[in-house]
């Protein structure tokens, strides 16, 4: 946690009875950041978001927004606004009055209120829809109105609880794009809850991965994918081959590891490698696309091991192979890029091949 944090979540724990919905979350969020809470269903994302919004109150810990402690402050007195998963568009009000809802109590003069509502509607390209009611709009339009209704109040923080979850895939991708550029335009800090890792990776400046109420890792999308620090994060984000291994020796950059099925391999050391002294039981992780399948010798400068092609899957932009190697029951997942058309279906099930990898293809993870 650094002094520059705009929002601070300090040792926040939320218990329902004896159940820990959020367990000692402790991190900071910077001003203007697009920050995501990512994790499987029931991991406590919504609970944490609702504590920031002021709908739930932590059992322990403190929350600060822009330097002010807000832990016991109710939702209507916080500088936050929320986009609900159900959008919660007021059904008895039209679009204009929905967007104007939060402004009405500011007692702005009529012209100023009108200007701000129109501005917000223009921002989400919903001008001309002023008199529509919720049931006269598509899901995507309702989603935009919910955004405008929140942003028109110029909150310090915008909270979004799976706002794209109810949209179909096409619309969801389009809205992701719009959401990101909207956030960059208004410069407001966004805290975004999702269980969709692709969505989190493509939108966020940083992501907190949660599991069973605990924050497992907070990092940029690239760091999360390339250098997960726990087995859970590695497993949750994308696909990864995990192999048991033992550290044989290490210098300050690289560990030499005896990995199941691969033999002796060099693995770059992560920033925090206290879990891996010489002799430690660890895991070696390899993303499918960091491995390659070749005939004969491995790529120059890389290491290789023999294996048999099991199942193959053609996925359009890449091929996916399951390769059985000696000394490991589970086949390794390997994804190869699709070359030109001559290489289509270049490996057949049963074919003997070599799996090729470089030192930087592998990551070191704690066993537990």
């Amino acid at each position: 946690m650094s002094a520059g944090d705009y929002i601070r979540i300090e040792n926040i724990t939320k218990r329902f009875g004896s159940f820990h919905a959020v367990d000692n979350a402790d991190f900071g969020i910077k001003q203007g950041e697009f920050f995501s809470l990512l994790g499987p269903s029931g991991c406590g994302k919504t609970t944490l978001l609702r504590m920031i919004a002021g709908f739930e109150f932590p059992t322990e810990g403190e929350i600060y927004i822009d330097g002010q402690p807000v832990t016991g402050v109710p939702a209507n007195k916080r500088p936050t606004n929320m986009v609900f998963q159900s959008y919660a568009i007021f059904p008895h009000l039209d679009v204009y009055d929905n967007v104007a809802y939060g402004l009405r109590k500011l007692r702005l003069d009529k012209a100023e209120l009108d200007r701000r509502v129109k501005e917000a509607l223009a921002m989400i390209r919903m001008d001309g829809f002023e008199t529509r009611k919720a049931d006269q709009m598509s899901g995507g339009q309702r989603q935009r109105v919910a955004l405008a209704r929140a942003l028109v109040n110029r909150p310090k923080v915008l909270l979004l609880d799976e706002p794209l979850g109810a949209l179909d895939k096409k619309l969801r991708e389009q809205m992701q794009f719009e959401l990101r550029s909207l956030q960059q335009n208004v410069g407001i800090t966004f805290i975004f809850v999702t269980h969709d890792q692709e969505e989190a990776l493509s939108l966020s400046d940083r992501i907190a991965v949660m599991q069973k109420g605990k924050v497992m890792q907070i990092a940029t999308p690239r760091e999360l994918y390339e250098s997960p620090t726990t087995r859970e994060v590695a497993d949750f984000i994308g696909t990864i081959n995990l192999l048991n291994g033992t550290v044989k020796s290490k210098d300050d950059k690289v560990a030499v590891v005896e990995a199941q099925g691969l033999g002796l391999v060099n693995v770059p050391l992560p920033a925090d490698h206290a879990f891996a002294p010489a002799g430690a039981e660890i895991l070696v992780g390899a993303r499918p696309e960091k491995l390659d399948v070749v005939r004969g010798a491995p790529h120059p400068g890389e290491k290789g091991i023999k294996g048999d092609i099991g199942a193959c899957a053609y996925l359009g932009d890449r091929n996916h192979y399951q390769v059985t190697i000696a000394g490991r029951a589970e086949p390794l997942q390997v994804a190869t890029e699709q070359g030109d058309r001559s290489t289509l279906a270049s490996f057949m099930p049963g074919e003997q091949v070599t799996i090729s990898w470089g030192d930087n293809s592998l990551v070191l993870l704690p066993r537990t």
Binding site: T80, S86, F90, P91, K133
Partner: protein, 275 residues
């Protein structure tokens, strides 16, 4: 899905006859009121001697009847408004707050529906006596509040449960207090149910005899008046005329209340995602 419904004819004529007989026995007794109210005679006997609207014309000439009607309306208004307010508070508590003993509380509030009214009336009478509260229209109205609150509660709970609670949260999130959220969001959304509850409870109170009988002071309500007229056969036809009017108004009100309840529920937008 299921097979297409068979036409009644295919099921046999028996069930058709049964259905009509059932409806006849259910509603025929009611038709006696309007029927004899238009008969030009004071005794209930066939064949009737002629058609007349004079009993309706006579209605205005019976001040005690008008007073009793006015008393009933006053009691009904007080009872329905109080019962609806209580029902609203109960519905809010039950649908919006987690509290221990919720089921027990709901059961207790509904209990007056299941206790024999005679016992309820007797108990209330004893208590009023002990507290030396004089019997009057007010005591009748209070008794009716007890009886009407469960009706109000069930109508309002159904409505409060029926709409997305995040609407209220959204209002709070946009800076409104709990009270203003009620006025700007909850109230407009449950307004049809509130009207429906007012109408229903008004009718329950308006029709009620037993509690009113126990709790009456020197002022009586319309059902008590009608009961009292049984001793005077000559007074009967105008009572029938009045009864017919009340029957009509009650039916209209109940149908309207039910329609409001359904319209209110339809107003719920599918507030989630793509349709």
């Amino acid at each position: 899905m299921t097979q297409p419904l068979k036409k009644v004819g295919e099921r046999g004529i028996g069930i058709t006859i049964f259905a009509f007989a059932y409806l006849f026995f259910l509603y025929a007794p009611m038709l006696v009121l309007p029927f004899f109210s238009f008969a030009d005679q004071t005794i209930f006997r066939f064949p009737i001697e002629g058609f007349s609207t004079r009993w309706y014309e006579e209605l205005g000439e019976r001040p005690e009847m008008i007073t009793a009607l006015w008393n009933s309306i006053q009691v009904g208004l007080i009872a329905s408004i109080l019962a609806t307010i209580m029902g609203l508070l109960a519905a809010k508590a039950i649908t919006r707050y987690a509290m221990p003993g919720k089921g027990v509380a709901m059961g207790l509030i509904s209990l007056p529906l299941f206790i024999p009214e005679v016992l309820l009336g007797l108990a209330l009478l004893i208590i009023l006596n002990l507290a030396s509260i004089p019997l009057s229209l007010v005591t009748i109205a209070m008794g009716h509040v007890m009886l009407c609150t469960p009706f109000a509660m069930s109508v309002l709970i159904a409505r409060m449960d029926g709409f997305d609670k995040s609407l209220e949260e959204a209002s709070m999130d946009l800076g409104e207090s709990g009270w203003m959220t009620f006025w700007r969001v909850t109230f407009p959304l449950i307004a049809p149910a509130i009207v429906s509850s007012l109408l229903l409870t008004f009718i329950v109170s308006f029709d009620e005899f037993l509690l009113a009988f126990f709790l009456q002071g020197d002022q009586i309500t319309l059902p008590l008046y009608i009961w009292g007229q049984l001793r005077f056969p000559s007074n009967f036809p105008p009572v029938l005329a009045l009864g017919t009017c009340i029957l009509l108004v009650s039916i209209v009100l109940v149908v309207f209340a039910e329609w409001l309840r359904q319209v209110g529920a339809q107003g719920d937008t599918p507030n989630v995602g793509v349709r």
